[in-house]
């Protein structure tokens, strides 16, 4: 049904809400990327089958939702209306949940989350320490809606910001509201969104484009995927508002090819929005026309860069160009183009609905609103977290993230993806905002937060990022193409024991050249992982060079495995698993490892139950 005015949209909302029984039990199964990897769809199907078997199909809803954030505990299900939080579910748990919780209205203790600090079970999502300190303005709706249902989005107030804008705000008023909110781009650079919109609005040209960058290429970041999969209409609503403010009638969503579910959900959302009259001609009877196309990326990290992305949209190789002329003047097809990323667009309806003053009250002086981080690596509570800007790294990693597993020591946190840096323990009380992260040699980036413990080698991490960027460099400019290659060679030498102390100066010099002379952001920021590790973890580089040791025990060329005869029980497991036949020994007799044959795969070390394999 087409909604032809803001009033009709409100009427539709009232109608949808009237048809919803808020007391009716609903089981919201998280279908985010983490839970999918924990086979949550089998759990969802088990719920559906059990409900059918008990004849409850009309009495209980089952909803597959986007990411709830707490991936570590997947598969997750929230039971509405009580919001009971069940975690680590398997299909065998389902009959008990239906019997106890749905029919008898009791909780199943063993499936609840245990708050170790308080030493007790918690029943609802809000009481779980992981969620307690978060401010989930963007992600919070994921569990409340079915991403395939525009009705669900409308029921929670969706498209009311669009109605407000089209119903009485001038384009410049919208831009002023966004400018006053202080929001900065969530994709990496942190450029003020309102100013970007204003430049594109003021640029010469009849045809202008708005583009959503959903080519989330930072390894270790998956927030844009989760927003697009879990709440695609929030992104659409932001884009339509932006298009109105800028004066654009055409837009593109550029989605990473590796995200098939995000592609499916955004395409469906666009179709529904068109059918409802929220996209297309004369949106909500305002006379404003806007439509969108979805393009799939080709799997190139550099296409996250705006000019490379636009080249790719034109069907060309994703090579960036120098930005003497901004894309707001000449972007896609040489026309004024405004590009923002998924999370930025999803913030727009919130700002319009609640006002710039409300929004700018959240966060710090220079960074407003909330930011979604993917908290991953060596951390207990892995997942997506959304916090107000300015929260300290300590609060995020230890209070929300629950600290480091297995009693290991925290070493560093890497933010900003391959363009970012590693922040050491001495800076753990740093408030997280755009400028503070840049001050310490890292950056906000799109929000990856990879936690590293004492077993992570910082030289190996630097080499990892350089290798990544070397592969992803488009090859157009010399400093990036050749500089990264040379830097990779030097770091490989260091990790393999051939490093020289003067190499450290050489890396430093090379880094300066890359920063100053590269064409685009990829090359300009590429030295960050190296510079930051060299600054904060120079002793590790020196240990590799001077002592030929990898203190974290990661760099294979610098470690040896051996068997401690006093601990070895002769169980034979390592002998059986060794792919190189490097281990010999009689049953129940201490085994021997031939270092000449050893390929240092570490399998013996991982399988030994008696701590008899030594790595040094």
């Amino acid at each position: 049904m087409k909604v032809i005015s803001a009033n009709k949209l409100e009427a539709l909302r009232t109608e949808i809400l009237a048809g919803k029984d808020l007391d009716k039990p609903c089981i919201a199964v998280c279908g985010g990327p983490g839970c999918l990897a924990s086979q949550c769809l089998e759990v969802r199907d088990a719920f559906i089958n059990e409900i059918e078997a008990k004849g409850l199909t009309d009495k209980v809803d089952v909803r597959t939702t986007g990411c709830h954030g707490f991936c570590e505990c997947g598969p997750i299900a929230l039971i509405y209306p009580q919001e009971i939080f069940y975690q680590r579910l398997s299909i065998d748990d389902i009959p008990e949940i239906i019997e106890e919780t749905i029919i008898n209205n009791k909780t199943v203790g063993r499936l609840l989350y245990t708050d170790d600090e308080a030493g007790q079970l918690v029943e609802t999502e809000g009481e779980v320490p992981f969620y307690k300190k978060q401010m989930r303005l963007i992600l919070g709706n994921n569990s409340k809606i079915d991403p395939h249902s525009i009705e669900d989005y409308i029921a929670i107030g969706g498209y009311s910001a669009l109605a407000k804008v089209l119903g009485g705000m001038q384009p410049m008023e919208v831009i002023d509201e966004i400018k006053n909110s202080g929001i900065r781009g969530r994709g990496g650079g942190g450029f003020p969104t309102g100013r970007k919109w204003e430049s594109t609005r003021n640029a010469q040209g009849d045809i202008k484009y708005v583009i959503c960058n959903a080519d989330e290429g930072d390894p270790g970041a998956f927030m844009d995927r989760s927003i697009l999969e879990g709440n695609p209409h929030s992104v659409l609503e932001g884009m339509i508002i932006g298009a109105y403010a800028i004066g654009s009638n055409e837009g593109y969503v550029y989605v990473r090819n590796e995200y098939p579910l995000a592609l499916k959900n955004i395409n469906l959302a666009i179709k529904q929005a068109r059918e409802t009259g929220l996209l297309g001609d004369n949106i909500l009877g305002s006379g404003f026309n806007f439509d969108l196309k979805v393009n799939r990326g080709g799997g190139a990290f550099v296409c996250g860069e705006s000019t490379a992305l636009m080249a790719s949209l034109e069907g060309k190789t994703g090579e960036p160009r120098a930005k003497y002329i901004h894309t707001s003047d000449k972007g896609l097809w040489d026309r004024p183009s405004n590009l923002n990323n998924v999370e930025t667009w999803a913030n727009i309806p919130l700002i319009i609905n609640n006002g710039a003053d409300w929004y700018s009250a959240i966060g710090t002086e220079s960074s407003k609103g909330t930011k979604v981080f993917s908290l991953v690596g060596k951390i207990n509570n892995t997942g997506l977290v959304e916090v107000p800007m300015g929260m300290t790294l300590r609060d995020i990693i230890f209070d929300i993230g629950g600290g480091i597993p297995d009693g290991k020591a925290f070493k560093a946190v890497q933010t900003g993806g391959p363009s970012g840096g590693c922040i050491p323990e001495s800076l753990i009380d740093l408030p997280v905002d755009y400028d503070r992260l840049t001050e310490v040699g890292s950056m906000m980036g799109s929000g990856g937060m990879i936690v590293m413990d004492e077993d992570t080698c910082m030289v190996d991490v630097a080499l990892y990022f350089i290798n990544f960027l070397m592969e992803e460099s488009c090859g157009k400019c010399v400093p990036c193409r050749e500089g990264l290659l040379r830097m990779g060679e030097i770091l490989t030498d260091i990790t393999e024991g051939r490093g020289r102390m003067e190499d450290l100066d050489l890396i430093q010099d090379l880094s300066e050249v890359l920063k100053d002379a590269s064409l685009c952001g990829l090359g300009q920021t590429a030295p960050n992982p190296v510079m930051s590790t060299l600054k904060y973890f120079r002793d590790e580089y020196e240990a590799h060079i001077k002592d030929h040791k990898c203190p974290a025990g990661v760099c294979t060329e610098l470690i040896t495995y051996s068997i401690d005869a006093s601990n070895c029980t002769g169980c034979g497991l390592c002998l059986k698993k060794c792919p190189a036949e490097a281990i010999t020994g009689e049953t129940k007799q201490p085994h021997v490892l031939d270092t000449g044959k050893c390929i240092k795969c570490g399998i013996c070390y991982d399988v030994c139950k008696f701590d008899a394999v030594i790595k040094e």
Binding site: S38, P219, G377
Partner: protein
């Protein structure tokens, strides 16, 4: 030729033979043949009326495209940062040993293609291996054997 012209035509027509849709067209061609046969690239260039060098450039620039046929089973090892710090390299090395191929190659019997991917966005469960479209979280070198044997 391996690529059937009428099948290519139907893909190209779906995008109105717009040069701007080159990447989407190649993605659909690859979905059809499992790789990009060389003749298909020439045909696409002709139909879109763009230089062959542009089509070959795009087909070799983006990681999503392959000019070599792929195996029946596709194994992708995630090499994202989160997976890396949790030991994805060792998982990849074990897969390379077991399948006797290097990342990017296909076994001689055409059964398996082993590839790396920069991030599949399931970081919380790293290291992740995607086998066909199924995700396997918290992988270790030891689990590789059972992954391959479960086939």
């Amino acid at each position: 030729m391996t690529a059937n012209e009428s099948r290519l035509d139907s893909i190209i027509d779906e995008y109105n033979a717009e040069p701007g849709s080159l990447i989407s067209i190649l993605q659909d061609v690859q979905a059809e043949y499992n790789y990009l046969p060389e003749e298909s690239l020439e045909y696409v260039a002709k139909r879109l009326d763009i230089p062959r060098v542009q089509v070959f450039g795009v087909a070799t620039f983006f990681k999503a495209f392959s000019l070599k046929p792929k195996g029946k089973q596709q194994i992708h090892v995630c090499m994202g940062t989160a997976c890396h710090v949790r030991g994805s390299k060792k998982v990849l090395e074990e897969l390379e040993r077991k399948l006797e191929i290097k990342a990017g190659d296909t076994t001689t019997d055409g059964e398996y293609t082993l590839e790396t991917v920069n991030c599949v966005g399931a970081c919380a469960l790293g290291p992740v291996v995607v086998e066909n479209e199924k995700y396997h979280g918290q992988m270790t070198p030891i689990k590789v054997e059972s992954l391959l044997n479960s086939k």
